[in-house]
Symmetry: C2
Subunit: 602 residues, 2 copies
């Protein structure tokens, strides 16, 4: 069949840059609208990662300029450690080049694809080289590069390289020009906002075509980059074990201890015993059959989970709550940071939060904020394990209506931190449906759902009780008047009854036989601390108990008591006088307070 030869002549190797140029949507460059967001995201991810590695508080500056109807210039600049000049062309001009791919620890970037893909997208759409300026310290010059990617080779092409007079002592700046549209500006601002929420140590300032957006840091605590750990014996595949053994110089016993996380002397002994391999043999010399037996043995021995506290960096409940309150002014917000768990040997931590009320949309589906390794996920919500898990929860059992997602003024935040977040594509939009991860998300949200239910129930109960009380109180004056008419007495003071029914704090003044009585009754269920003010022409120096202090204001005396009153209790002061003037209390909500001057009633 001559056809085979014909086909053979067409078969050839494709460079990874060619592949991703053709499949640029896989990297989040499907459209000019999305291209901007992806580019900014990749640049900021790199900046934040680099700052953490250098233990610097990140200061990131973003600029987006519309050049023509269709072209945009983006610049992102940071105060990170900078990149040594020899490596700059590779970091920005070669896909699959980076420092974090082989490291087992939480980081935003991992694949060494993102920012070079942005460079590729720029040269594909406008042909303009990427400009990079970087400086690694005050004692080093800054360098400026104009870079392109030789697509068919996936290698950088240096168009220009020169020393540059830069006022920064360290940092990196990238400038890109590409076909883009600001149609999704709202989403871009959301991205910056959400990034700020989960990176409270970062300051991000953005000039979006003349519109200034600033996100100040809310924490001055430097986030230290998580440490890389060795692979865990439960998460290793045969091929990886084989490769590790092939380059090892140790004997098998040492190889197990130094090569793997959480394997100590004792567990290494056990593994070797089960596998029937002598610990003194060189790891390099083990046959495939031996390695298979060893791998099986490694799964059988009890080994603690990977040291998540070293390699992961959760946001923490406090920081999540703080961030959400700042942005959404919620009536209710709670967060949970779950304990670290493991899937396929990769440690991960799920954090979640539920917010309610405040500025949230009263109707429609819940607002869902998804994060992975402190990076907001903006696209492919429907394909994400987070969405799956949320839709799988029976929200109705928390008195929340649901149509796949919960409905109402609800915000759901989920953060998955892992040494290896299983994204469904290189564009890192959605987390794959890993059962262990979905389970953790579910547990965290169910826990928070119960708290939200309590909050809503209590609020509803309070509202119901108050409505009832209000109804009762509205007829009391009529009843009192009627009764007074019948018994032919003046209408009684009904404020204590109202106060009691409505659970208020009632302050009262009444003068009888030359003695003025000032009382405060706490009908609420909590102790209160209040200041009682009595402004009067009567000199109150002889009051019992004695006022904490008295101001003289013209011809009037302002007596002040600072008192604590237990629930369902009353406090009273008396002094001789005519009872003119006014009283007031401070320290309770205005809505909770009833002030009655009975001297004024008759």
């Amino acid at each position: 069949m001559a056809i085979a030869e014909k086909l053979a002549s067409q078969q050839k190797s494709i460079s990874v840059a060619e592949f991703f140029e053709k499949n640029k949507h896989l990297l989040g460059f499907d459209s000019p609208t999305r291209g901007i967001i992806t580019t900014i995201k990749e640049a900021i991810d790199n900046s934040l990662d680099a700052c953490e590695e250098a233990e610097v508080l990140p200061d990131i500056w973003v600029s987006i300029t519309k050049l023509t109807k269709e072209t945009i210039r983006i610049a992102v600049e940071d105060n990170g450690p900078g990149i040594v000049p020899d490596n700059v062309p590779y970091v920005f001009g070669k896909l699959l080049y980076g420092s974090r791919f082989h490291q087992i620890r939480q980081s935003r970037g991992q694949q060494g694809i993102g920012i070079s893909a942005a460079v590729l997208f720029a040269q594909l759409t406008t042909g303009v080289p990427a400009r990079v300026i970087s400086r690694t310290g005050a004692d080093k010059p800054a360098y400026l590069f104009d870079l392109m990617i030789r697509t068919e080779k996936n290698e950088p092409e240096i168009i220009r390289k020169e020393e540059y007079n830069w006022d920064r002592t360290h940092g990196t700046r990238i400038e890109l020009e590409f076909t883009g549209s600001l149609a999704a500006k709202r989403r871009l601002i959301d991205y910056l906002k959400y990034t700020a929420v989960v990176n409270p140590h970062a300051r991000i300032q953005a000039d979006i075509d003349g519109e200034w957006h600033s996100f100040e840091r809310v924490s001055d605590e430097i986030i230290v980059s998580p440490q890389a750990i060795a692979p865990h014996p439960y998460g290793i595949e045969f091929g990886t074990l084989k490769r590790m053994a092939a380059i090892s110089k140790d004997n098998v016993h040492e190889f197990l201890i130094t090569g793997f996380s959480r394997v100590g002397l004792k567990s290494a002994d056990q593994m070797l015993k089960i596998a029937g391999i002598k610990g003194t043999r060189k790891a390099k010399g083990l046959s495939s059959e031996h390695l298979k037996t060893l791998l099986a043995a490694m799964q059988e021995v009890d080994v603690p989970p990977p040291p998540a506290s070293l390699c992961l960096s959760p946001i923490t409940e406090e920081m999540i709550v703080q961030g959400l309150e700042k942005e959404f002014e919620l009536d209710f917000v709670k967060a949970r940071t779950r304990k670290a768990q493991v899937f396929s040997g990769h440690p991960f931590i799920v954090e979640a939060a539920i917010g309610y009320g405040g500025k949230l949309d009263q109707e429609g589906q819940a607002l869902l904020l998804r994060f992975a390794n402190r990076v907001p996920l903006l696209y492919q919500q429907g394909a994400c394990a987070v969405t799956n898990a949320i839709a799988g929860i029976n929200w109705r059992s928390y008195n929340i209506s649901q149509q796949s997602l919960p409905i109402g003024p609800i915000l759901l935040l989920v953060h998955v931190a892992s040494t290896n977040v299983p994204f469904t594509s290189e564009s890192k939009d959605a987390i794959a449906a890993i059962p262990e991860i979905e389970k953790e998300i579910t547990l965290a949200l169910q826990d928070l759902g119960r708290e939200l239910k309590n909050f809503i129930n209590k609020r509803d109960r309070n509202k119901l009780a108050e409505d009832r009380a209000r109804a009762v109180c509205s007829i009391i004056p009529d009843i009192a008047t009627k009764v007074a008419e019948i018994v032919e007495l003046p209408p009684p003071d009904i404020s204590p009854i109202e106060g009691q029914i409505m659970r208020r704090v009632v302050a009262k003044k009444k003068t009888e036989d030359g003695m003025v009585g000032v009382s405060v009754t706490n009908y609420t269920r909590k102790p209160i601390e209040v200041m009682v003010y009595s402004l009067s022409e009567d000199n109150q120096e002889e009051a019992v108990p004695k006022p904490d202090f008295i101001d003289v204001i013209g011809s009037e005396f302002n007596a002040v008591w600072r008192i604590t009153i237990e629930p369902e209790s009353a406090w009273k002061a008396t002094y001789p006088g005519k009872g003119r003037g006014t009283i007031d209390i401070r320290g309770v909500d205005e809505k909770m307070k009833v002030v009655v001057d009975l001297d004024g009633i008759y």
Copy 2:
């Protein structure tokens, strides 16, 4: 900052094989369950593509054998054109190597990743090399290879290569051993079934761990591989234009005509005029600025859409209906093949079908069959443009209940054929949300939805009318008896009334005064063709009209008339005789037929 040097020391290049080994879920190898399906899919895709290229009717043989509790051996063998021995190691042992990446035409495989990823997955999980046997013709020897991939280089490693005594004259066989589970056997069989539905020219036979599944071809028509076309001027990016110009030897005028699809002399002239570029200049010599102007000009000139009929291969409405009827025995099925459309310069065709009733599940969500370039899509339904489009249609307007997807015994099939199907990931599970594609899917399904509505309405109307008629008929005998009593006559023959109300075909025999009358009345709304049988001791040779033939059976005569009766019309035959015997009609549904022998009534 010494940190930059420290970071630099960690920065390095990652091979694409390393990348996909770590991110194997991107290629559909997330789990042992899925690994099997992905492997079989990739192998079958390659076989079908190769057979089409060689214009051979595909004969594919699949074998899955459980070796241990966790390991599986898969073999897939085809009668394709084979692969020349020099290329075998690259086709199976190097990612991003193939013949179809740069060709603009519909094909199943495009990226040159799939089958080598399966080899990578096998060596990662079991370390066993892939075995490939291939032969390109009867006059050539077959070769056997044992292959691995050097992950860190993404290069093949030939463990063994030898001539092999193979009974096939041409074809390819691949054998892989990996960690796998048959837990998703049902889905695997579905995959094979659906593949057969959209590849009616293929025979697929599978031995799934001892269980034999055979899918015979339903069409002997060879599917000719679509032809590759040149890129369309509307779908070209600046970077691609620049690269094309750089390797061109033509002047710009020739470059436009030969380099692009649908650009003729006239449109090339127009483009050059708008761009202000002389056609005689060498394309290679154009500056970036010139190329930008030219690209803009190319978008302004009217050019017909790309020649979809050459480069695309739709399944056709007839073949879809045939395939679905065979597998699902539906009460209703219709298909639509839409006209070719274009997104970003890539031609595509949407085909859709709706099936109803039959063997489909009466409750729950519609069964959704998604296909891209004749390949079934089994995962990530929620992330797919097809699902999006379906959920976006208001099915209630077709009297179909809906909960995101339609509910009921409904099957929806959608096939997207394109020179560049925009998948959301390399695993090719879901089609990205391209507005042009979603629109076509929506239009096709709305059109079919209207037809389904008509079908259901008619069926419901028929059912309702029948229910009413049945109610009326159930009281007619009582009325007839009552009336007969009152007027003191024998009860009348009510069969014509029943037949009329129920829209039946009524055959009647009645003998009076030595004359036998056999009549057939068609109360339905359609003309009928029936055979009337009259079995009797009377010799019916003198019947008017004359019977078409008469059989003598013992002492009886069986007269047969073949007649057509218009709606609401009657046919009658008479002959002299005693009227004994029976009559019957054939050619109408049993449920539609009423036979009344009035000779037997009295």
